[in-house]
């Protein structure tokens, strides 16, 4: 058994690495090949100082062909490989808009801020979604189930940003919560707790928005997974054995239903990213999503390219982790 498990893990990791590579390549060509040629054309951006432009031309080999260099000399002297080289150095370029700041610095800070939102929201929504989904499935057809389904339906039909706007109205008007940002501008803090409290009060609305949207999705998925499991023969066997219903739910239904959940969560990671983008915009939370939108609106292509890369890579990594967890949980898994 251990051997085939090891093979499974190796296969998944290798695949993830290949995907990462594909994402990097895709990202590169996205910004070069499309009309508008943002990367190169962007060098004419007036916001860059001439020294910067020269350094960038040098760094990214802008005068070279895009993919492979057949003009004699080194085949790998092209923009693509220059880009790869820069990446391996951790150099993602310089922002056009933020006055010569390194893209990597901007991304780093933004990523941390996004995690502040996304991680609590995911935890809340998974715990609640799984729990409510289980109950709704068990009480299929009753009022509890119908309200759960209605809730999910409405969450699905509500664009995330609109939910954010509604909560914004409600929160600022009646709950006196802050409207934007991560911290109150110009605030003076007495100690660490004070600062923490300020951040948390800013977090409440955006986290709640994200959590609600994800909750609807997870609850729906869990419910249908449990419903399917409850129709399986081994549930009848358990019932015939005289096991009490709650125990059947716990030790048979729940355990088996969790498996497809894990894969479905993986499939929904893109959904989390898009949710984060919208929520950060509505609440002006200085995370990765907000940075991306800002970069778009200001046509700050290096930042945009870097942000997109980072977002895509996070999904790949998260996907890999989830697949490995699944492989650990399901004994039927062998290598594909």
């Amino acid at each position: 058994m251990a051997a085939s498990r090891r093979r499974f893990v190796t296969q998944k990791v290798v695949f993830a690495v290949l995907t990462v590579f594909a994402v990097i390549t895709f990202n590169f060509f996205l910004f070069r090949v499309l009309p508008g040629d943002p990367a190169v054309g962007g060098l004419r951006d007036p916001r860059l100082s001439p020294e910067r432009v020269e350094a960038l031309r040098e760094r990214f080999g802008v005068d070279n062909p895009v993919f492979l260099n057949f003009d004699g000399g080194n085949v790998f002297e092209s923009q693509y490989f220059a880009y790869l080289g820069a990446l391996s150095d951790g150099d993602l370029g310089t922002s056009f808009a933020f006055r010569d700041q390194q893209v990597t610095t901007l991304l780093g800070q933004a990523l941390i801020n996004t995690l502040w939102l996304v991680v609590p929201a995911q935890i809340i929504s998974i715990v609640l979604g799984v729990g409510l989904g289980l109950i709704a499935a068990y009480r299929r057809g009753t009022r509890v189930d119908v309200s759960a389904l209605t809730f999910s339906l409405i969450m699905w039909s509500l664009p995330t940003f609109f939910l954010g706007i509604v909560l914004l109205f409600v929160g600022t008007t009646w709950l006196d919560l802050p409207a934007a940002g991560r911290v109150t501008i110009g605030a003076q803090y007495t100690d660490l707790w004070d600062q923490l409290a300020d951040i948390v009060s800013h977090m409440i609305l955006p986290t709640a928005t994200l959590a609600l949207v994800l909750l609807g999705e997870y609850m729906l998925i869990m419910r249908s997974s449990v419903v399917e499991v409850l129709g399986e023969d081994y549930i009848l066997t358990a019932r015939a054995m005289g096991i009490r219903r709650p125990k059947i739910l716990r030790s048979h239904a729940f355990r088996n239903a969790m498996l497809p959940i894990v894969t479905l969560i993986a499939l929904n990671l893109g959904f989390t990213v898009s949710g984060a983008i919208q929520v950060e915009t509505v609440f002006s939370w200085p995370g990765l999503g907000h940075l991306t939108v800002d970069a778009v609106n200001q046509r700050d292509f290096p930042v945009l390219q870097g942000a997109f890369l980072l977002l895509a890579l996070s999904v790949v990594v998260a996907n890999l982790i989830v697949e490995l967890i699944y492989g650990y949980l399901d004994p039927r898994v062998k290598e594909a």
Binding site: P159, L230, D233, L259, L269
Partner: protein, 624 residues
């Protein structure tokens, strides 16, 4: 089509959508103002709350919000449908090719699709629109070209499953080419699913468009709901408390998406009806009053006049009627019948293990004198597995696939005796497995790691875990290889003897009954047609069905004998014939048989429900 209109929510969704479409088409006539026209602005006109002049107030440009909302429908609908069309066409084509072609092309397409599924959609959408420009055409193209992944995945898996179906294999063996197979078999099966999916893709497209617009990436020349929200947000509607500029356009988005989703869900419900309900739904108790017939305590298991039915949309359908039999300690009863004869329903009904729409309609089931049909849940659970257990067909899913065989036996042991600790239970489980011929070291194996024969043995071990007095085996040898069948049967016989079990074996195989059972009860059409000791019933069958069944069974003593077959088919539960249920297919039927149902007559080999056993009836027939 007709079924759609019976689905209430789907119809509501359709109505909502049609309303929106009509509003969009007739916008110039419905909207009180033209939101594209230039308006002279005075500060006082900005963010005016709703009034009789402006039903939804004004926005930051002093334009009428209501009119803008009406015109906004056009963009949402156009982008939604056009984008979805592109997505589905691209996705559908890729899906079919990927599913149908098993070579490198199919694999490559799948990898390609999987890659795009990894990329975060909104982020990619944003990047693309930023690069190619914010015109309506570009937005439609980008949304369309990025939405194909879910469709492709869905269509691919559907194509794959259709490709494996026997009628496609048959056509292929007959010489069908790819185009024919696609046209005649694959596409008609894939199309309905694609339709349901298209509808959902529309809702995704509409959401994508409004999100893009909200983020400032919509077509700046066109009014859309997302655009309205963007303008409101960036120009201080929140601060000004001008909820009328933000909430209505958002609600409009929700309205359309909800409409489309309702339609999509309805379509999916129709095409993919989720079968039945699940095994854990609470049952409905018996309503019939208890009879007062004396109880015999020597007989371990007595079923008396049991009737079982199912609740269908059309009413309650009786599946099993007035079935009676008994099993004493140490005796084995074979319950024989063909598919639809009601034997499995009988035992499930007797043990109250019916699906949620099953009902015990009458009769009693006595285990050691106690009536199972009228017990409360707790008392019944006590008896389960302790006194009576059931061996299901050892198919893949009768055991929980993610738990080891040993853990399930342990669970059975500890459910009924919480004082036993884990270690002792595990030891006991190991002994049980050895008892049924499974090496002890396989206690940690998962069901999928065991062969069919081993799985069936595990089910038997499981059934014996709490030392029951009565074991019911439902088709214990079906679906196994002949040699394995013989081994399992031998095991059951041995265990029954050594443990002095009472047993009921449900089967369609007369050979099994002959081998392993002392008594037999033959069922047809939900009723018992003959009962008695095997030795007598099989040598002198009294009921024509039993006789024909025996003749239809091959034996090797007379291998050249052509087997008998019974013309026709068993009666449907909903269309039971009047009179004897077997009469339409019976070679010896006479008039009385078609008019009245024969009771159980005493015969030389037991009892039989046939007028042929009644000399008066037979004489009456002859004289006609």
């Amino acid at each position: 089509m007709k079924r759609f209109f019976r689905h209430r929510l789907g119809v509501i969704g359709l109505a909502m959508l049609l309303l929106t479409v009509l509003v969009a088409i007739f916008a110039p006539w419905i909207a009180p103002y033209d939101p594209y026209a230039n308006v002279t602005i005075t500060i006082a006109d900005i963010y005016q709350p709703p009034s009789s002049m402006h039903w939804l107030g004004t926005d930051d440009g002093a334009k009428d919000v209501f009119s803008a909302m009406i015109y906004g429908a056009r963009v949402s609908l156009v982008v939604g449908f056009a984008g979805a069309l592109i997505s589905v066409l691209v996705g559908g084509t890729i899906g079919i090719i990927a599913g149908y072609r098993s070579g490198w092309l199919g694999h490559a397409l799948m990898r390609f699709t999987d890659f795009f599924l990894v990329l975060p959609d909104l982020a990619l959408l944003i990047v693309l629109v930023a690069i190619v420009g914010q015109s309506l055409r570009n937005i439609i193209l980008v949304i369309g070209l990025l939405g194909w992944t879910t469709t492709a995945r869905l269509i691919r898996s559907q194509t794959l499953s259709v490709r494996e179906r026997k009628y496609v294999v048959r056509a292929k063996a007959a010489g069908a080419g790819d185009w024919y197979t696609l046209r005649r078999h694959v596409i008609p099966q894939v199309l309905p699913l694609a339709l349901a999916n298209t509808v959902l893709v529309v809702s995704l497209a509409i959401i994508s468009e409004s999100t893009l617009a909200f983020l400032g990436l919509g077509d700046p020349l066109l009014i859309s709901w997302g655009q309205m929200l963007n303008l409101g947000f960036t120009r201080g509607a929140v601060g000004a408390g001008a909820w009328w500029a933000m909430i209505p356009p958002g609600m409009a988005i929700v309205w359309v998406v909800l409409a489309v989703t309702l339609i999509g869900n309805a379509l999916e419900d129709i095409l993919n009806p989720k079968l039945g309900r699940h095994h854990l739904e609470p049952e409905v108790a018996v309503e019939t009053p208890p009879p007062d017939v004396p109880v015999s305590a020597e007989v371990l298991f007595q079923v008396r006049d049991l009737s079982v039915g199912f609740e269908m949309p059309s009413g309650v359908v009786t599946a099993v009627e007035d079935v009676s039999f008994e099993v004493s300690r140490g005796r084995v009863l074979g319950l024989v019948g063909e598919s639809g004869g009601g034997k499995t329903t009988t035992v499930l009904g007797a043990l109250r293990l019916l699906p949620p729409n099953g009902r015990v309609l009458g009769g009693e089931v006595l285990l050691d004198g106690r009536d199972l049909t009228r017990m409360d849940d707790a008392a019944l659970r006590e008896l389960r597995w302790n006194r009576v257990s059931i061996v299901f067909q050892g198919a893949m899913n009768a055991l929980n696939p993610v738990r080891t065989v040993g853990s399930q036996v342990v669970e059975a042991i500890r459910t009924h005796d919480e004082s036993i600790n884990q270690k002792t239970a595990l030891t006991q489980a190991g002994e049980l497995l050895e008892l049924v011929g499974i090496p002890r070291r396989r206690i940690g194996s998962y069901p999928h790691e065991l062969s069919g024969g081993m799985r069936q043995r595990s089910m038997i071990a499981l059934a014996l875990a709490c030392g029951p007095d009565l074991v019911i085996a439902d088709e214990p040898t079906t679906a196994l290889d002949v040699m394995t069948q013989a081994q399992i049967l031998d095991l059951l016989e041995r265990l029954q003897r050594e443990l002095s079990l009472a047993m009921v074996i449900v089967t369609h195989d007369l050979g099994v009954v002959n081998e392993a059972c002392h008594d037999v009860a033959v069922m047809y059409g939900g009723k018992i047609v003959e009962k008695g000791p095997v030795a007598r019933v099989f040598t002198e069958p009294q009921h024509p069905y039993t006789r024909l069944l025996l003749e239809a069974f091959p034996t090797l003593d007379d291998p050249g004998r052509r087997l008998a077959s019974i013309p026709g088919a068993p009666p449907l539960l909903t269309a039971m014939p009047a009179g004897c249920r077997f009469a339409p297919r019976c070679p010896s039927a006479f008039d009385l048989c078609r008019e009245a149902e024969p009771p159980l007559y005493e015969t030389s080999s037991g009892v039989a429900a046939c007028f042929l056993a009644d000399p008066i009836a037979v004489a009456g027939a002859r004289s006609d």
